[in-house]
Subunit: 90 residues, 2 copies
């Protein structure tokens, strides 16, 4: 199984109220030095086949799926990347 990660973030010019709320609360909680916070979505897709079998056509299909289904490209940017399958944990 290959893991493909799709990150969806608001475009830089779009106001991010959630991110701003987090950023404004941080000093009150004692966390200084964070100039800006942007919040978005992360999708982890488990794709059949191994990472090496993920050819350009398969990645193009996933990009097309992300563009039509996971992101609203009017206000959001997205990135698609293949990640090693064992999830990085805290």
């Amino acid at each position: 199984m290959a893991r493909v990660v799709v990150d969806v973030m608001l475009k830089p010019e779009i106001l991010d109220p959630q991110g701003q709320a987090v950023q404004r609360a941080l000093p009150r909680l004692g966390f200084e030095g964070i100039a800006d916070v942007r919040q978005g979505k992360r999708f982890e897709l488990e794709v059949e086949g191994s990472a090496d079998e993920l050819d350009d056509a398969a990645l193009a299909r996933i990009r097309e799926m992300a563009e039509t289904f996971l992101a609203n490209t009017v206000i959001e940017d997205f990135t698609v990347r293949v990640e090693e399958s064992e999830g990085a944990t805290a």
Copy 2:
């Protein structure tokens, strides 16, 4: 400005209804071969100072902030990593 990315995902053993809804819809939209979808949050933090100035103590503070404020560690895992500052766009 250094960019630190905090990814927050539901723990593997926690049911992810949003991810399941996406995964079930994909075949109807003509996207086959996606065995599982997990949806989580991505935070992009712009931290004062450059990436090289981000020492272990600063990263430990950010990890502490993520643990107490960005993730619910009862049901979520999180990862913290330093990323190059120019955002990867679609």
